[in-house]
């Protein structure tokens, strides 16, 4: 190292000040610069926005005439819309019922089983995880091949009403719901809490109700929301079992009135975004609570 690099005090100061402005850390690691970050996120974000913008633009088109109209939107609130879109509204109703029943399956079947395994039968944890991940390997399009004969029996036993489809949806949401609840279970010291409670004289049920479930609220909420989002977007099973839900109805309506179909698709998209934004907030709230 040459002595000539040793700058006098004045020069050294200005040089270092100029080279790295105050409050800006030296970039050492993997992080991109602020400019690179904005460029990447900006460009990719813009490209991903195009289809959404195109959908919005489409809802204002006046047929093939090339000019714009708000009639597709105002038509939704006109008096006879209820009659015109009765099939669609009915399908939305079906999807909401399916979402509710699916959440019920998650809360009444999956959640108790996971808590039971976590607290009483920890050696079955891997098995349970394996089972809950299977629906990723056996996708809906494969499952539906075998579901067809199963549902011919289900219809005979329970009747052909819409809500029975939720049994199949409960399976498709299994990986998501499992992950949401499990990450919450792993985050709370179940063993310590239950031991502390039992040294204080609490029974197993008391531990479950007063200690475990309140601590699992975030995981349960996240599992419910993701289940709702998945069910509202489900098409494969409903379509191939000839059931009517939001997605199959949208496809059908799009044949006659594509504008309304796209408007409803935008609504569904917005609703899903809000649901998942809440999940995101729940997740970060758990995180910051754990940090403090």
């Amino acid at each position: 190292m040459s002595a000539s690099r040793t700058a006098p005090v004045q020069r050294g100061e200005t040089a270092s000040t100029r080279a790295k402005p105050a409050n800006q850390a030296v970039r050492i690691g993997a992080e991109p610069s602020a400019l690179t970050r904005r460029l990447i996120l900006g460009i990719i974000g813009a490209i991903f926005l195009i289809p959404v913008i195109a959908m919005i633009e489409f809802t204002f088109r006046n047929g093939l005439a090339g000019d714009y109209t708000v009639s597709h939107w105002t038509g939704l609130f006109s008096e006879d819309s209820a009659r015109t879109y009765r099939g669609l509204y009915q399908a939305i109703g079906n999807s909401l019922v399916l979402a509710a029943v699916t959440v019920g399956i998650v809360l009444l079947l999956l959640l108790p089983t996971m808590v039971l395994v976590h607290m009483q039968l920890p050696r079955l944890k891997r098995t349970l995880e394996f089972i809950c991940i299977i629906p990723i390997t056996v996708p809906a399009i494969v499952l539906v091949v075998g579901l067809a004969p199963v549902y011919s029996v289900v219809v005979k036993v329970l009747g052909g009403s819409t809500w029975t489809l939720a049994f199949a949806y409960g399976i498709t949401v299994l990986p998501y719901a499992y992950r949401a609840i499990q990450s919450n279970l792993d985050a709370i010291p179940v063993k310590t809490l239950s031991e502390a409670a039992s040294t204080l004289g609490a029974g197993w049920m008391t531990v479950l109700w007063t200690i475990l479930l309140p601590n699992l609220r975030r995981g349960v909420l996240a599992a419910s929301f993701i289940s709702i989002a998945v069910v509202l977007g489900e098409f494969t099973i409903a379509s191939l079992l000839n059931r009517r839900n939001l997605q199959t109805a949208l496809l059908q309506v799009s044949q006659s009135d594509p504008w309304v179909a796209v408007i409803f698709a935008l609504f569904a998209l917005a609703l899903a975004f809000v649901l998942l934004l809440i999940i995101g907030r729940l997740g970060s709230a758990t995180l910051s609570r754990r940090k403090s």
Binding site: M1, T6, E13, S16, T17, A22, A25, V26, I28
Partner: protein, 360 residues
């Protein structure tokens, strides 16, 4: 906190290390001044500890020397050379972080070899030197393990070997022991001191643990709010703290209400010299070391609260008649029982003082 300072601190090793010189270094983060004009001179082969509470700027000072943090103004010289324009990877330094700094996908040996690889040392020579350095920290037999197969103490030893293998001009230690168990911490700090002395490498050691700083350092710089409050040998800091903050932070002190009259502390009838800067006369809180008091046949009346055996000595907590609770250090043979009425006397050593309403 033990205050024994019998550790030998002879620096007779060959001084091959470089000098480190900070002058008027200023660094601010959004609205907060981390370094408020720091001056520091480290001699070749010297170990200087930066000591202070969290947020005092000690880590920022260390990271400025390493180049991981840029400075707003001032100069940093390593071996007389201004390093303002030298990026971290060209500064020829070694650094040990608080924890988790080993590369997880490399074995112990590969981790240690990394610095040599970056300097394009030939493979055989590289292995040789890495094994040599690994031997220094006693981990040769773990050379093929991954970081997660090692204990925290072992990981820090590997990190130390990795930082030393290139024989850097300066060794920077950023709270290297604070994530370890108490026992390992003491063991490893002695080992760091031994290796550092053997190699004669200039070292800056950041810690918030005053006992650690006093035990290993040639000199200790006590920092607060981005400034160095006092720098000196451990003995100097302990015996003649420059101000009440240093007295309070280094070692254990009793806070006793006293009166300052003509620059002299008057405490229960004793006149004690005031250490550090002079203060206006009036009521103060005197900071009295536990070993500057003793149990006597007569003196200040008090009642024993508790007494704990500390090996070579005993520390007894006494509630004085005025309600002040003090700790007194004395020989183990005397064993006061809780509730026992005792008398306390001062040895008359100079004391520091705080303004009366000072809260820690």
């Amino acid at each position: 906190m033990t205050t024994t300072l019998t550790e030998s601190r002879t620096t007779t090793a060959p001084t091959t290390g470089a000098t480190v010189h900070l002058s008027a270094v200023v660094k601010a983060f959004a609205g907060h001044t981390a370094l408020n004009s720091i001056d520091l001179e480290v001699a070749p082969g010297e170990l200087v500890a930066l000591l202070g509470p969290s947020g005092c700027g000690k880590t920022t000072a260390l990271r400025s020397i390493s180049g991981l943090e840029s400075i707003d103004s001032g100069r940093i010289l390593i071996d007389g050379e201004d390093v303002a324009e030298t990026p971290t990877n060209k500064r020829d330094i070694g650094m040990v972080f608080q924890a988790y700094s080993l590369f997880p996908h490399m074995t112990v040996l590969e981790n240690v070899e990394f610095g040599l690889k970056m300097r394009k040392v030939a493979a055989t020579r590289r292995r040789e030197r890495a094994l040599e350095t690994l031997d220094m920290v006693g981990l040769t037999k773990h050379r093929d393990r991954f970081a997660h197969q090692l204990s925290g103490g072992q990981q820090q030893r590997v990190a130390l070997a990795r930082a030393l293998v290139t024989r850097p001009r300066v060794l920077l230690l950023d709270e290297p022991l604070s994530a370890l168990d108490a026992k390992v911490r003491v063991q490893l700090r002695e080992e760091i001191r031994r290796i550092q002395t053997e190699l004669g490498i200039t070292t800056v050691f950041v810690t918030h643990d005053q006992e650690e700083a006093l035990a290993v350092a040639d000199r200790v710089a006590v920092m607060r709010d981005g400034r160095i409050e006092q720098i000196g040998t451990p003995e100097e800091l302990y015996a003649t703290p420059a101000n009440a903050f240093v007295a309070d932070f280094v070692g254990l002190s009793n806070r006793m209400p006293a009166e300052l009259i003509d620059g002299t502390v008057t405490l229960h009838g004793c006149s004690l010299n005031l250490l550090g800067a002079s203060m206006p006369d009036g009521p103060v809180l005197a900071l009295v070391r536990p070993e500057d008091m003793f149990l006597a046949a007569d003196g200040i009346a008090g009642t024993v609260i508790s007494s704990s055996f500390l090996g070579s000595l005993r520390r007894t907590r006494v509630r004085l008649f005025d309600g002040t609770v003090v700790a007194i250090q004395h020989e183990v043979e005397r064993h006061p029982l809780p509730g026992e009425a005792v008398s306390v006397r001062l040895k008359g050593a100079p004391v520091s003082a705080l303004p009366p309403k000072h809260k820690k």
